[in-house]
């Protein structure tokens, strides 16, 4: 595994617009077959990073696809990359199918792979209409289909869920997971963190043009705050008991109790049960990805430490 080169390597990436710097020494790697979420606030630099990788924007630093470096004007390695950046760029006078024919590599599987993609993304109803008649969601689906053409080794998707309905979101999720299982690497930026939580193996958090956290999804969620919400027949007594046992307790809609490996739910129930307190309701209130990301962005220096 150590000998396998990363699907994407970004080293010391800096981006300037005139004298204004927007990316600051960005470094990260994407392992083959992984789904990597690129998250951050609006204007954090996610799209600029993706545009730099795709040689759409000038930059300083080194970017490699597998072992092959890419530069602003020498980027043969990008032939193995599919991408959807911002809104899909479409020719209004071409139909969806003509777009796919335009970009598909001319091989024996071309027609089959186009038909499969049309089917997987449920585009049959509009694929032969001109793109000028497309809705936002139709354009987005076509942009995604173009990104998936030619079995790329790396697929870069910038806000791929824009304009997609629930069915299309489900279709895209299924397609990403299938391709990932087949070895395709994904770099995905999305503000819909719930969806990213369901997909991503790894996470790169960007804030103000810098990487503030590079981790796995499992690690991030494991580090997040876990709480339970309790309702008992005597909440005041319950607070006293739990605080005496060094639990962090706050009052909200019921009792909010922080739990850790040592201070587990079982021990809470045992403590309260020993005092004959009746637990009427208990619910887990774990931080989700959104809360975890917001905490990281709120305290970037702490994460660097």
């Amino acid at each position: 595994m150590e000998n396998t080169p990363a699907a994407l390597t970004v080293q010391h990436l800096n981006k300037f617009y005139g004298h204004h710097q927007t990316l600051f020494d960005v470094n990260f790697q994407c392992q083959p077959g992984h789904i990597i979420g690129l998250v951050g606030a609006n204007g954090a630099g996610k799209t600029t990073i993706m545009r730099s990788i795709l040689s759409l924007a000038r930059h300083q630093g080194q970017i490699s696809i597998g072992p092959d470096p890419v530069a602003f004007n020498h980027h043969a390695a990008l032939n193995r990359v599919g991408a959807l950046i911002e809104s899909p760029g479409l020719y209004p006078y071409l139909t969806g199918r003509e777009h796919l024919k335009l970009f598909v590599k001319d091989d024996a599987q071309a027609t089959t792979s186009i038909a499969t993609l049309i089917n997987q993304l449920h585009m049959e109803n509009f694929i032969d209409e001109r793109a000028q008649k497309y809705s936002l969601g139709m354009k987005q689906k076509l942009g995604i289909a173009i990104a998936f053409l030619n079995q790329p080794q790396l697929i870069i998707l910038d806000e791929p869920l824009n304009g997609l309905d629930p069915q299309a979101t489900h279709d895209l999720r299924a397609l990403i997971l299938k391709q990932s299982a087949a070895g395709t690497t994904f770099l995905i930026s999305s503000h819909i963190l719930g969806e990213l939580q369901r997909l991503a193996d790894d996470l790169i958090v960007i804030d103000h043009g810098s990487v503030v956290k590079e981790t796995t999804m499992a690690e991030l969620l494991a580090q997040s705050q876990h709480r339970v919400q309790l309702t008992t027949n005597d909440d005041d007594l319950a607070v006293t008991i739990l605080q005496a046992a060094n639990y962090h307790v706050s009052m909200g809609d019921g009792l909010l109790v922080d739990i850790t490996d040592q201070q587990s739910v079982e021990k809470i129930m045992q403590l309260l049960g020993d005092q004959q307190l009746l637990i009427q309701d208990i619910r887990h209130l774990d931080d989700d990805l959104e809360a975890s990301i917001l905490k990281i962005i709120a305290q970037p220096e702490a994460q660097h430490a």
Binding site: L54, R58, H75, E86, G89, P92, E98
Partner: protein
């Protein structure tokens, strides 16, 4: 590069305007032939035939629009971001566009030339022969026709190379088309003034507008040569050098564009 070239030709063929403009050019060519057949006093068949029934002029306007659009539409539709990752470099993209326009222009020139020849045999078979000579001319009509086509084609590319340059530099179709058309008609507008200036300051004979006289000088080498102060060979090489310079500058601008 071959894949990029095929993509450009595919897009060109799929544009409705491509087919519509070809149909309009064909109709114009035939209508002018009919005019000459009906009223040969005002529409002189021999002269119209040599000028491809005036279709070469309209064709130049069509090609100016096509050359501008093939570059600027990528910025307008935000589609350059699809092309760049599929190409080895931006230079390969713009060269594929030049080649597509070269193919389009050659195809159109061939089409209207063959159509003009067909018109000649359909409408004017009894009126004149290709081996006839127009009064005052030393060469037969067929030769004059071919020379006019060749000279016009060289001049077309002088204009198109300028359009490519402006389109790549400014990314605006309207500006590229406007300046291309102004360039095309500038000789008619300021030709006399330019010749007076060349007479006064000879170095001005090297200005690119003077090289638009190439087709005229091919037909009337003595008369036009006295005004351009250049030999016909110099005019040909000048055209080619200016085309290379304009394309080279356009290539430089395009290769620096972010998508």
């Amino acid at each position: 590069m071959l894949r990029l070239y095929k993509q450009e030709v595919f897009k060109l063929l799929k544009k409705r305007s491509t087919l519509i403009l070809v149909v309009l050019l064909v109709m114009q060519n035939i209508v002018f032939a009919i005019f000459a057949d009906v009223d040969s006093t005002h529409f002189i068949p021999k002269r119209l035939f040599i000028a491809n029934f005036s279709t070469s002029s309209y064709l130049t306007l069509v090609m100016i629009a096509a050359a501008a659009a093939i570059i600027t539409s990528e910025f307008e539709y935000d589609t350059l971001k699809n092309l760049v990752p599929h190409a080895t470099s931006r230079q390969a993209i713009i060269i594929s566009k030049w080649l597509a326009i070269l193919t389009y222009s050659l195809g159109l020139y061939l089409l209207i030339s063959l159509l003009s020849l067909l018109n000649k045999f359909l409408f004017f078979n009894q009126t004149f022969a290709l081996t006839d000579k127009i009064a005052g001319m030393k060469i037969p009509i067929w030769q004059q026709w071919l020379i006019t086509i060749a000279g016009g084609y060289v001049n077309l590319w002088l204009i198109l190379s300028l359009v490519f340059l402006i389109a790549a530099a400014l990314k605006k179709s309207s500006t590229a088309i406007s300046l291309g058309i102004v360039g095309y008609f500038s000789l008619t507008i300021i030709g006399t003034l330019m010749f007076q200036l060349i007479k006064k300051w000879e170095f001005l004979k090297w200005n690119p507008l003077n090289f638009l006289n190439y087709p005229s000088q091919l037909i009337f080498p003595q008369i036009v040569g006295k005004m351009t102060r250049l030999s016909t060979t110099q005019l040909l090489w000048g055209n080619l050098v200016y085309i290379m310079i304009f394309l080279g500058i356009g290539l430089y601008f395009f290769s620096r564009k972010e998508a």
